[in-house]
Symmetry: C2
Subunit: 514 residues, 2 copies
């Protein structure tokens, strides 16, 4: 935990890389520091988790980034610290005139920002965030922007996959203890946007307006035993205190032989007193097998509606496994698999908050245009890897819906283009010149521009949606996505395409560079 | 970015899981909330990164945890938020008497804490942190303690592996853009403790007292080109501004055909003006091959001492690959591999700050003793997995050095035991009853108790070492570790053992439970 001063220094505007300031000073010295420039933020590849990979991402992180931008600036303390930095010869690294400019102009008041809203399904190469503003400050922004947007999008995407495999059953985020220090807090927000219904983390729950969820740990049962009492005594005490919110963790001793029978005894007492028991939690062992046995025991005792909460290193793959095993094996024990699945809740910790399998989203931030003599000039960076060449210029992304009202492609074009007036849409693969298709207007039911204006010269001109509204947008987008794209393994490749004009601009700029 | 209020709520004492408060209220209601209890923090397995795994960890995170504990408490705002929480029947979840107790006692002033110092090599099953204090607050502490200690230890361990493979060459942490929101900040501290020499992150560099490192990005070169100038112009401008700190990124266009020749031209001018060029940076392509070619070109131009900085998705495995390839291929090109390796610097980003391959350390926090009638009573939790049974009671960890002054084992015993008075040390495997060995006193050169007192009833009685001192401790421990334990792949299993007394206590408690 850092002091208030240390927190400002480490989390404020100085949360950036040294080379950003080195370049900013060079831009100042060269006289181009206030030249308008455009940077695009986008990712090139979906997360790949080893044996499985994502076919879409859920965009997240924007509101907190914009809040950060509106508060971050170079104040006296920041300038003092920069002034202390030395060259290898012991001279002042950042000169007084540059630091004076930073003191007066070192904020994001010059920045305009467009973005795809949080919660939307997004794909590679699409500009998720578009920054236009004075070169020096737009450059300095890079580190914090990527840090905040990459992480929440990564976690939202993982949460969406897990929710998908959980067939929409209640999903609880439990990851704080294995999370990345305070990264846990933004991670929870990403999880709640992407698919988690609630989190166990109390503080951030209150900030975001969701009730925190949780019951008790093994240590409670263990403590009762250490005082000469029993698991049953512990359950009784818990049920007495929380008669209407009672979920009992049944695996401290042995789930089938001790925990579940004791839970049933307690539930029977609760029922007699007029309370409705809520659930049991299984946190170890073969969760599919134990769920079936638990359901059988609970049903036989008349508790057909009591929930079964599962936890222990869960992720999309082992939830899928659990669901498959339950579907196959339940009938053998006289349990209806659908009924059992509908009473499951999943508590997911480590593997959600770390995006296990792929712990980073490779989002990048690339210069795509500069203003020369009052005109935006698209720029390009060539690379030996064609997929690493950024898309030049000021762009829009349109989502194209077919006549079944499914999304059929996302089309990236230049922002002035009027795609609705075109009779035939020409769709170029963003990298491979050989891949091209056309789409007749009568096969299109709707087009939806995804980038919206958020900041205009530093002023907020956007009303941030609530997390509930963000989730509605997520559900809308997921519903219209081809099920093949949502597959866990070998998902269909969703078509992200370029318009003729953007494709030609890119090719021309590449030619000019050579 | 959260407001000050939101930051206090999300990062302060409410950075905990809901079940901790649910249990705390139960302990209060049962009258055991102030009963002294002991929890141990330890991990059960080294990080496993897929094809390779760690044979040791570097302990980290303690100072920031203790700072957090000394500042975190239930104030009026926290109590107000807890009071708003409702049961499923809409009643107040936490009762006023419990909240009143929390308001007065909801801090860590009752807690005593012992720990293994930061920077030390640590192993599974060893108590890294030992908490004794009033049950309710010791329970509430769990989430924040695990969150902070697990992450810094995870990153310090990864950094140590990378530094080892880099053969001690300069290691720079570059990960902010792919890190976990503000988790990046604690991650940098872990990296600096474990093996990184510096970081690019400006803010935390100033807090920790290290100069941030970095030069320029591709965007600088690209910007010059967009204004009708060239890579050479960009390099010239950079060298003019930073004549004594000039590292040039040479791969914006083509490293061998453009970047390195241009860098050499600039270096020649700098040399004529009396400046010493520092280095070039390679950020794409076959880094081993390009390093050799770069060394050849630089040497031929008389710049034998110019550094070569490598970056681009580096980790311990691909640094090892680069080192191997340089060793094998350099002679073919007339380059001395040792000379080349000695001029390398490594910039490591994503794969360090995310601990790629294993993004979480599974540290746990387990109840091991409670005070009954003024006496500490060891407690146990049984499990069907023997490795998950915690070690009961109040313990010490001794590091045992052999006659070559190498560490030969870590021995966990009860804290009252005097191992130096024993003629023969009996070493039990912590889990497997069949594994036991003895160690004669005359084979032991030294024993070193690892746990030190940090907090006594909430009062700090420990002087935190500087990061430099922590690094010295790390180097000392690593030097005395068997090289086989430091191997990247299939490391030797370092012996962590239990004394006779601890082994017997554990067996007796397990028997009693059955």
């Amino acid at each position: 935990m850092l002091s208030k001063f240390s927190q400002r220094i480490s989390e404020g505007i100085l949360f950036t890389d040294q080379y950003q300031l080195m370049m900013a000073q060079l831009f100042y010295r060269t006289g181009v520091h206030e030249k308008p420039a455009q940077f695009d933020h986008y990712f090139r590849q979906y997360p790949e988790y080893g044996m499985h990979k994502a076919g879409y991402c859920i965009n997240a992180g924007l509101e907190w980034l914009v809040d950060w931008m509106q508060n971050a600036s170079f104040g006296n303390e920041e300038i003092r610290l920069l002034k202390e930095q030395k060259t290898s010869k012991g001279k002042q690294l950042f000169s007084d005139d540059f630091l004076g400019w930073l003191r007066s102009n070192g904020n994001f008041n010059s920045i305009s920002l467009k973005a795809i809203p949080e919660g939307r399904v997004v794909h590679p190469f699409e500009p998720l965030t578009v920054i236009q503003g004075q070169l020096a400050m737009a450059q300095i922004l890079e580190t914090a922007l990527l840090n905040q947007l990459n992480f929440q999008t990564l976690i939202a995407t993982k949460a969406s996959r897990i929710k998908e495999m959980a067939r929409g059953q209640l999903l609880l985020e439990f990851g704080a203890r294995r999370a990345q220090d305070r990264g846990a807090i933004a991670g929870v927000r990403g999880a709640l946007i992407g698919g988690a219904d609630f989190t166990s983390n109390i503080g951030i729950s209150h900030i975001l307006g969701y009730p925190p969820k949780g019951t008790h740990a093994h240590s409670m049962v263990q403590l009762f035993i250490s005082m000469g009492m029993s698991e049953l005594d512990a359950f009784d005490a818990f049920a007495d205190l929380y008669p209407d919110d009672c979920i009992l963790l049944v695996d401290t001793i042995n789930s089938l032989e001790s925990g579940i029978p004791n839970a049933i005894k307690v539930f029977e007492k609760m029922k007699r007193k007029g309370h409705k028991p809520i659930g049991i939690r299984l946190d170890s062992g073969d969760l599919a097998y134990l769920s079936i046995q638990a359901a059988k025991m609970l049903n036989e005792a008349g508790f057909n509606e009591v929930k079964i909460v599962l936890s222990n290193e869960l992720d999309e793959m082992n939830i899928w496994q659990i669901m498959t095993q339950i579907t196959q094996e339940s009938p053998k024990y006289g349990i209806d698999p659908e009924h059992l699945i509908n009473r499951l809740t999943f508590g997911v910790g480590t593997r959600l908050i770390t995006s296990a399998g792929d712990p980073a989203l490779g989002g990048v931030y690339k210069l795509v245009a500069v203003m020369n003599n009052g005109e935006w000039t698209p720029v390009i960076k060539i690379s030996e890897t064609p997929g690493k060449i950024p898309l030049p210029g000021n762009k829009q992304v349109w989502r194209i819906y077919n006549n079944n009202n499914r999304t059929t492609a996302d089309l990236i074009g230049l922002s002035g283009e009027d795609i609705n007036s075109m009779d035939v849409l020409s769709l170029h693969h963003p990298v491979d010149p050989g891949k091209h298709r056309t789409l007749q207007k009568d096969h299109i039911s709707k087009t939806d521009p995804l980038l919206v204006d958020v900041l205009k010269d530093g002023q907020l001109i956007y009303s941030f949606p609530s997390i509930e509204e963000i989730r509605q947008l997520r559900n809308y987008d997921l519903e219209l996505l081809d099920p093949g794209v949502k597959r866990l393994i070998n998902p269909h490749v969703y078509h992200v395409s370029l318009t003729d004009k953007l494709w030609e601009l890119k090719q021309n700029l590449i030619e000019n560079m050579k």
